[in-house]
Structures are given as C-alpha cells and as structure tokens.
C-alpha cells in the first residue's frame, strides 16, 4: 500500500535524523554507549509497533521522553555504572594539570560516582536529569510527574550526600580551592 510505504519513509527519516542525537543523550545518563543504542532502538521499534503512533503529534518529543525515561530506568535499576566507570577512569593525564591533581580528580570522581550510585532511585533520577539534561526544577517535576517541592527535596538530599563525600576528602577540596583561586 502506498500509504503505508509513505509512512515507512517518514519513519525512516525520523530515525535517521534523531538516532545519533538520542543515543548521545541516553549515553550521558547511562554512561554506556552500547546500552544507550539498544534502548534508543527499542524505543523506535515500540514507537512503530504502537498502534497509537499516528495520533502522536510531536514524535520527536515523544521519542525524547521515552528515551530519557528508559535511560533513567536503566541506570537506576542497574548497578553497572560503577564498573563501567572504573573502566573509563583509567589514568589519563590532561594537559595543564599536574599528575597529582589528575590522580586526585580520578579518585574523587570515582567516589562521587559511587555515591550517586548509592542514591535512592528517584533522587538519582532527579540528579541525572539536572546534571545531564540540564533541566530546571520545574522541568524535572513535569518529567517525573512529581511536585517541584519534591524535586527540591531530592536535590537537597543529593547535594548533602555528595557534599559529605567532597568534605571527606577535605584536603583535596582545599587544594582544589587553592588551585582555582590562585
């Protein structure tokens, strides 16, 4: 049927123009490109196979929401983030930084990642949306369908926990302060 053919063409161009973008958005949250690709593909397949698809006015918005949701669920339900990070966190000195500074940074990064990992799921989702999707309180509230107050509480909670981690390596922090203000 030509109608169906046209629909498939439209769908293909939707896929081609959004796939890469969505993968990189998902990857920021999952920290795992393979997982990100898998879940973006899954979202696309479900979108086509969903009989309601013709009633969705803004497919991009739908796909984005679905992908981010999937990525959040993947990340908060999996305890894989840590090991993946450990792999990525291999020592790689950057130009302009002392080796000591880099090593401390790597250590801190690992600690912070562990703490994020340990956050309760909703709290973790709020933080991930704020950090990687740069969403405001209001946007996060809408996205997760919770009240802005709850979002605020979660952010405060996350910050308090992560601050403790930062303070626990006070000396490092001090050095960094020193480094930044010198």
């Amino acid at each position: 049927m030509p109608d169906e053919q046209n629909k498939l063409k439209a769908y293909e161009s939707l896929f081609r123009s959004n796939y890469k973008k969505l993968c990189s958005r998902a990857c920021r949250i999952t920290n795992d490109m393979a997982a990100a690709e898998d879940l973006v593909q899954e979202v696309f397949v479900n979108f086509w196979n969903n009989t309601e698809r013709q009633f969705i006015d803004t497919p991009e918005a739908y796909l984005y929401t679905a992908v981010i949701n999937k990525a959040l669920n993947y990340t908060t339900s999996q305890k894989r983030r840590l090991e993946i990070n450990a792999k990525y966190l291999e020592f790689q000195p950057k130009a302009g930084n002392s080796i000591e500074q880099e090593m401390l940074d790597q250590e801190l990064q690992q600690k912070i990642q562990q703490s994020i990992e340990a956050l309760p799921p909703v709290c973790q989702k709020v933080f991930l949306l704020s950090r990687y999707e740069e969403m405001s309180h209001k946007e996060i509230a809408d996205f997760l369908n919770i009240s802005p107050n709850t979002v605020d509480n979660h952010i405060k909670k996350a910050l308090a926990i992560l601050r403790k981690v930062l303070l626990s390596v006070f000396i490092t922090l001090f050095e960094i302060y020193f480094h930044f203000f010198s």
Binding site: R28, D32, R131
Partner: protein, 327 residues
C-alpha cells in the same frame, strides 16, 4: 540552596545562562559566604561528573536492526494471517481426525485395563473385588472404574469368574457372539476367538446367557453348561457332572462312573491333545477316579490299566487307545 539558584548555576555551568541570570547569580553569591560554598559544591560536583565521551554510532546498522523488528501492518498481510488461521484450524481438525482413527484402529481399548495371560494362567481382581482366573492365551478387558449401573468386561479366551454379588449392578461379560449376565455367581466361560464354540459352565448361582443383540436368554444353573455354536447360532444346554469344565484352574480331573467317550473330550481339552478310540465299543467303558495335577501319561496309564487297554502315541498329534472293550 534555593532551587532557583541551583537551576541558574546549572545553566551557567552549561554555558546557557542569560546575561540577566548571570547578574542575579553574582548578586546572590555576594550575599553570603554560604552561597559561595553552595555554588562551589555544585560546580565541583559538575566537574567530577563529566558526561562520558560519546562514541560514534553506526546509524545504518542500527536502522537495519530496527527495520527488521517492525511489525508490518499492511492489510494484505492481515488477510494472509486469516488464511493461516484457516490452514491451522484445518490442520488441527485433520490431526484430531487422524488421531481418533488411529486410536480407534490401533488402540481400541484406549483408557481400558487390558489383561493378557499369554502363556500363563493368572488371577485378576476386578475393581468390584470379583475374581477372574484367566486361562492361557486369554485376554480380559475392563474399565478401571466400572460403570455405575453395570459391570462390563470383555473376554477373549477362557476364564473362571467368581463374581461378587451386587444386585444393583449386573456383571456382564461380552465375548464373541455371546453375552453373559450375572448378579453374583461363579462359572467358567470359554470363548476363544478361533473356536466356533462358546461354552459356559456354571459352578454356583444362576447365569443368564444370551446371544449378542438378542433378547432371548438361557438361564444356566449349577451342573449345567450351555454351548453356543457361533457358526450356526445354535444354543445347546447339557448337564455336566463335576467340575471338570474348569479343571484348568483347579488342576483336578474327577470322573464318577463316567463313560470313556465322555472322558476323552475332557482330557483332550485339559491336555490340549487328541485321543482316538480305535474301537468305538470302548466308548462305553466306565471309569471312576480323580487326578490331581497329573501328567497325561500318568492319566493314560491309569485308564489303560483299569480298563485293560493299550495306548499308542501317534507322533505329535495325539494318542490312540486300543483294546477289547468292556463287559
């Protein structure tokens, strides 16, 4: 930390803050050292959680993968699915038919208890506690759960029945061409499919014997036997002395002043052999005696000694008796 400023810092760190937002942030930071500490904490947190580097993606490969999983919704396909439904339905019906035929022809006694004696003699206890002794080469078929109204069994071969009395539920034996109906008795029924005669001999109680699909019944009482010739559909009732009809079960042959011509068929049946009289006058010789688990040779020796006869073994077919005859 106030949510509004967290959001502004987020935008500032992403390089997306507007000039007015940046001004607001500066003012807020100047307000107190605490605000500065909050700002530094968030900034530090951002620095320590960099987004992972984005690896390159193969859009072409991904598209192929996705395309293969798309469900085709073309109407033409829908029709073919229905066609398949019909095909599947037809196949199932055909399969059921074939299975039914297979069951009917290959396993006519499906779900029934089938007891075959083979080369032995065996005793069977039926669900109603009736006992059945099966002679060699016999087969008894019955439903594990007897019917509520009737106790039906099917017999091929020979069996001695001791039927538990149950006036409510008649016990019915179906055998070739004959039907034997009892309430509670003991009797011997011989109905080998390869023999033209069906024979019923009653030990105790009363037995109703009838031809299949016929209303006519013959009531048989102890001491009597009835023979049905399945070729001619003739029924013959005769008096039988003793319990020799089910000697295969008891191992006991008993003759009380019996004529030799009546003794020989009993022996022939019991020992599955043939015994011939060279002189028909010998038939009237009478004999009284009991044999218990005796060999044929032993029986013949006793008979010939008592009646002054001679027996000759005729190859493997059987024996013949010769003599002068009795006075």
């Amino acid at each position: 930390m106030e949510g509004k400023y967290w959001d502004i810092v987020t935008r500032q760190l992403a390089g997306k803050a507007s000039a007015s937002e940046l001004q607001k942030l500066e003012d807020w930071l100047a307000e107190s050292p605490e605000h500065k500490a909050d700002y530094q904490a968030q900034k530090r947190l951002w620095q320590l959680t960099p987004p992972s580097e984005i690896a390159d993606t193969d859009v072409e490969a991904a598209w192929k993968k996705v395309k293969s999983q798309l469900v085709d919704k073309q109407p033409a396909k829908v029709i073919s699915i229905y066609q398949n439904v019909w095909r599947v339905a037809a196949s199932i019906i055909l399969l059921i038919g074939v299975l039914w035929l297979a069951k009917y022809f290959l396993f006519p006694h499906f779900g029934m208890e089938v007891v075959e004696s083979g080369n032995r003699r065996i005793a069977v206890v039926l669900p109603d506690n009736s006992q059945v002794w099966l002679n060699k080469g016999s087969k008894l078929i019955y439903d594990k759960d007897f019917d509520r109204n009737e106790r039906n069994v099917q017999l091929e071969g020979e069996a001695f029945f001791e039927v538990k009395r149950d006036v409510e539920r008649p016990f019915i034996i179906h055998s070739n061409e004959a039907q034997t109906k009892v309430l509670g008795t003991s009797f011997n029924l011989r109905a080998y499919p390869d023999e033209p005669l069906v024979e019923l001999a009653v030990a105790t109680g009363k037995v109703a014997f009838s031809l299949k699909e016929q209303k006519k019944e013959v009531i048989v009482t102890p001491g009597f036997a009835v023979q049905l010739n399945t070729l001619s559909n003739e029924l013959r009732k005769e008096e039988i002395p003793g319990e020799n009809a089910w000697a295969w079960k008891t191992g006991k042959l008993q003759f009380a002043n019996e004529e030799l011509k009546n003794i020989l068929p009993v022996l022939e049946r019991y020992y599955d052999t043939e015994i011939e009289l060279k002189n028909s006058a010998l038939g009237t010789c009478r004999f009284t005696g009991t044999f218990q688990q005796a060999d044929l040779e032993e029986v013949l020796q006793v008979l010939t000694a008592t009646m002054q006869l001679k027996y000759i073994e005729q190859d493997k077919q059987g024996y013949s008796l010769t003599g002068q005859g009795c006075k």
